[in-house]
């Protein structure tokens, strides 16, 4: 039986309560009659034999590209770059897709007699991965073969010797990327394309870039013009990356792009109720929900986090394509839409969403308040094509505990951003103008980024810029069940229950508002007609 497509449920009297994520917890909320709930499509059947599919993709590239074996020769310099810890979410069960793909690439390189091979984690300004995280992503065999010899490195956007400036785009944007990658005879980039934003020219132009280069598109103006950044053709973020990618190609950097799609199998069997629509829950699902929610309600947050950190997603690969960047990415994007797309008729006055415990930037860490904002206003709000799910001036209601809590190892500059920047202003443009440069050039943050496991000093700014479109669009943002001080510091309103939040929202959008709930994860993309 083929998987069912996404679905928009109209809530009536017989509709059971709807599951809302609340960080490391869940709740069942009864939505007003007439509300809509958007469910993701069911998981697409995975590839029966991923290894042979990868091999086939490498041998039969798309676009203007030779098969990979034909691009490999003795004496060449080969670099394989791959996505970092931010993908996929949650981290997938072993073997990770990166491992499967890179093993095949390395086998072909060995067959061709290529000796000079280096692996680079495409961190951009993200934190460096730990050894266990790297072993999980690429497997022990690859790690042990490369890391001890210094051939597995993590991109360092602050090492001037390891960067090369390739020129300016026709818009005057600096293109500065990893020197090893740029000076290789062939750069292979291995992607995990979880959402439509991932991949394409963004892989190299962002993942291997410096702050000098990134600042041209990671800014509030670009984000406000990206509607949304999940829709490449209406995304200024992507336009800038495409300009840069084409300049990179024109500068002689030969990129062989590998992109992979995942299905929507997000949670392991213990949490199958999270994958299902509530009215289809069986006794086992109800029991699972009760057991999980009661246990988590009694578990201190730090232990609940540890429980969820151990969760590995049973994601399966649904497609793999390789070759020329733009041709590859066009296919990948189609597949993302096939798995995640849901047609939705019209906008809503109030959009609700339950925020889970994880975002791209807190794997094995804490979803701090800035990341809460980014997950809701940056990511979930932007999961649309056409028009935002919520109308201009509408209200976004999110459920999350939003603790005033940070991981000082991973997010040191976030702490200062929250304390010293958001206490002054929450306007993304003012934030950028007054504070960005100081944080971006702060030697302590640079030190921690380069030598520890810290996100770059400017990273919290990017998280805030990610919210810029939503902040401009929305009439109000309400967080249900959040720590008041933290919610207010974000510039949002705090409500203790969903009912209270709806009352507060009515003050903004009127007394008879329409309401839509985004039932994610699993991730979905709303095609708003």
């Amino acid at each position: 039986m083929s998987p069912r497509p996404g679905f928009v449920l109209d809530v009536d009297r017989s509709t059971p309560p709807t599951l809302f994520w609340h960080g490391e917890r869940f709740s069942l909320e009864r939505l007003p009659e007439g509300s809509r709930v958007i469910y993701a499509p069911e998981s697409i059947d995975p590839l029966a034999d991923p290894s042979s599919a990868i091999r086939s993709a490498l041998r039969h590239p798309v676009g203007d590209s030779d098969p990979l074996p034909a691009l490999l020769r003795p004496g060449m310099k080969l670099t394989v770059a791959f996505d970092d810890i931010s993908l996929p979410l949650p981290p997938m069960e072993r073997p990770d897709i990166r491992q499967l793909v890179i093993e095949q690439v390395l086998d072909m390189a060995a067959d061709a007699g290529v000796d000079d091979v280096a692996l680079i984690v495409a961190l951009a300004l993200h934190r460096r991965m730990t050894e266990p995280e790297l072993r999980h992503a690429i497997g022990d065999r690859i790690y042990d073969a490369f890391a001890p010899n210094g051939l597995l490195t993590q991109h360092d956007a602050e090492d001037p010797d390891a960067l090369v400036h390739l020129g300016l785009t026709d818009q005057g944007e600096d293109v500065e990327i990893n020197r090893r990658a740029a000076e290789s005879d062939l750069l292979i980039y291995v992607n995990i394309n979880l959402v439509a934003m991932d991949g394409g020219h963004k892989s190299v132009a962002t993942g291997l870039a410096s702050y000098k280069s990134l600042r041209h598109h990671h800014n509030p103006q670009t984000m406000q013009k990206s509607r949304s950044f999940m829709d490449q053709h209406r995304s200024e973020l992507h336009s800038a990356n495409w300009r840069m990618g084409r300049l990179i190609a024109a500068a002689g950097v030969k990129v062989f792009q590998i992109e992979t799609n995942l299905n929507n199998d997000t949670f392991p069997p213990a949490f199958t109720f999270l994958q299902k629509r509530e009215w289809e829950w069986g006794a086992k699902d109800r029991l699972g929900y009760l057991a999980a929610s009661k246990a988590l309600d009694r578990t201190p947050p730090r232990y609940a986090r540890q429980i969820f950190r151990s969760v590995k997603a049973p994601h399966r690969m649904t497609s793999v394509q390789a070759g020329e960047v733009e041709a590859v990415h066009a296919i990948t994007t189609e597949h993302v839409w096939e798995q995640q797309g849901v047609v939705v008729e019209g906008q809503t006055d109030i959009l609700t969403m339950g925020l889970p415990y994880i975002s791209p930037y807190n794997v094995n860490s804490i979803l701090n308040p800035i990341l809460v904002a980014c997950l809701g206003l940056g990511y979930f709000f932007n999961l649309y094509r056409g028009r935002p799910l919520v109308r201009e001036g509408g209200v976004l209601i999110m459920t999350h505990p939003t603790p005033w809590e940070f991981n000082p190892v991973h997010h040191p500059s976030y702490i200062d951003f929250f304390e010293q920047v958001l206490s002054v202003t929450t306007d993304p443009i003012e934030v950028a103008d007054r504070f960005e440069e100081g944080f971006a050039t702060d030697p302590w943050y640079i030190h921690l980024y380069r030598t520890g496991h810290a996100y770059h000093g400017v990273h919290p700014f990017y998280m805030w810029y990610w919210c810029a479109h939503a902040l401009q669009h929305l009439g109000a943002v309400i967080i249900v069940g959040g720590e008041q001080a933290a919610v207010h510091r974000l510039g949002f309103r705090a409500a203790s229950t969903l009912a209270d939040a709806l009352e507060m929202a009515r003050d903004v959008v009127g007394t008879s508002p329409s309401l839509t709930h985004l039932h994610a994860p699993p991730i979905l993309m709303a095609d708003v007609q």
Binding site: D416, E419, S423, P443, W444, H447
Partner: protein, 416 residues
């Protein structure tokens, strides 16, 4: 007439100390302090005048004494029984003479500079410190014609501000207050003088980053002093660690560039100076840190955020404490005490070496006037409600207050 009298009574002293475990000022009712009938003290000699208190503040050092937590260092510098209260705004019913030798008409309102140095003790010749105007450093505070007592409010002969019977003030202590001053303005002059003295002791230079730990009366007055006295010639950045919301708002109003929660202060300083962090300490921190709390924790915090060869100024009264001084040694820090007041050389751009001097109190009068510091007086109580008053002062920050004072004007007080 009534006065609160502090007597040497070890059982009561112990009881007060135990009660203070539950909060500063909680042991006032069972401690060595008692409300007794008292007559005005006798004038100790020529140059002394009776001063009838109008308002008298409750200071952190008073609380430490009442809690039994002040250092034993001071044991020989007080005489029992004494009437506390050294922050005094009063009235010279019989007139008097001020510190500069000016005659003051009966009914003149005045504040007292409470240090009991050589002049009030009729010691001749006066000590070198008093000769230079640094009366706070006088070494004769237990000698001469008066019983021991480092200040009015700790000396059995002079009386103190917590009294309707009044106290005696020597002309060298008397500063008339301007007519425009409210009594609240006047009672805040003494702690402001301490803050002025501290601000000028720190050697703040133009471009310095200055951190202030604590935003009680002394911390806030220090911010005001830095803004009004230091900044005109040495423009500095002032970052304040303040625990409570009302303190944060006041610090900002008084001239702080940034106000953060205490636990955020080191990070705020680090951001401003662009420092790294090593062993939990800033490698290049604030040029000057004012510790306006005076605890081991606050001093430790100060030592973590001051730059090498920087200066830590102790403004809040410390006691016996255990602090790791390794960073002080290793980073060649200067730890400066800033006690009371004296004679200052007000900083001025291009000032000659022989610039005129002014008393800390005179400068404090200017600061109080310019900054409106009288508004720091948050609550007043009649003497009869001294237990409530002292408990309120001990929990001032938590209860949204800054300065709590006794109202001796036959009023019921204002405990808003």
């Amino acid at each position: 007439m009534k006065a609160l009298v502090f007597e040497r009574n070890l059982p009561r002293y112990a009881a007060s100390r135990v009660a203070s475990i539950f909060g500063s000022g909680r042991g006032a009712g069972i401690g060595p302090l008692q409300l007794l009938d008292r007559e005005p003290p006798d004038l100790p000699g020529e140059g002394w005048f009776h001063l009838r208190p109008l308002l008298s503040g409750i200071c952190g050092s008073d609380l430490a004494t009442l809690d039994g937590r002040s250092s034993r260092y001071f044991e020989d510098m007080v005489s029992f029984p004494f009437v506390p209260g050294h922050e005094v705004a009063g009235i010279l019913d019989g007139g008097g003479i001020d510190h500069a030798g000016r005659a003051l008409a009966p009914g003149t309102r005045a504040v007292i500079e409470p240090v009991l140095g050589c002049a009030p003790r009729h010691i001749h010749p006066i000590c070198p410190q008093c000769a230079q105007g640094h009366t706070g450093l006088c070494g004769n505070i237990a000698f001469g014609d008066l019983a021991p007592g480092l200040q009015t409010g700790f000396c059995t002969d002079t009386g103190g501000g917590w009294s309707t019977a009044g106290l005696v003030a020597h002309s060298s202590q008397v500063h008339a207050i301007p007519d425009a001053f409210s009594d609240e303005d006047a009672v805040i002059v003494e702690p402001t003088a301490c803050a002025v003295h501290a601000a000028l002791s720190a050697g703040v230079e133009g471009g310095d980053v200055v951190a202030v730990i604590g935003a009680g009366t002394l911390g806030l007055a220090t911010v005001a002093a830095l803004h009004r006295v230091v900044r005109p010639s040495s423009d500095c950045t002032v970052v304040v660690g303040a625990k409570h919301a009302h303190q944060q708002a006041l610090a900002e109003d008084l001239g702080a560039d940034a106000v953060v929660a205490p636990e955020q202060l080191a990070r705020a300083v680090r951001r401003r100076v662009g420092s790294l962090v090593l062993a939990g300490r800033l490698t290049n921190g604030a040029d000057v840190v004012f510790d306006c709390v005076g605890t081991a924790e606050s001093l430790t915090q100060a030592l973590t955020m001051v730059r090498p060869r920087g200066r830590v100024v102790l403004v809040g009264m410390p006691g016996k404490m255990s602090v790791d001084l390794a960073p002080l040694w290793h980073r060649e820090l200067t730890l400066v005490g800033a006690y009371a007041y004296g004679t200052e050389v007000p900083p001025a751009a291009g000032a000659p070496a022989t610039a005129p001097t002014r008393r800390s109190f005179e400068l404090a009068l200017d600061v109080v006037s310019a900054a409106g510091l009288g508004s720091l007086v948050s609550a007043t109580y009649p003497l009869e409600r001294y237990e409530e008053a002292i408990a309120h002062a001990g929990a001032a920050g938590r209860r949204g207050a800054v300065k709590v004072a006794f109202d001796l004007r036959n009023r019921k007080g204002n405990t808003r």
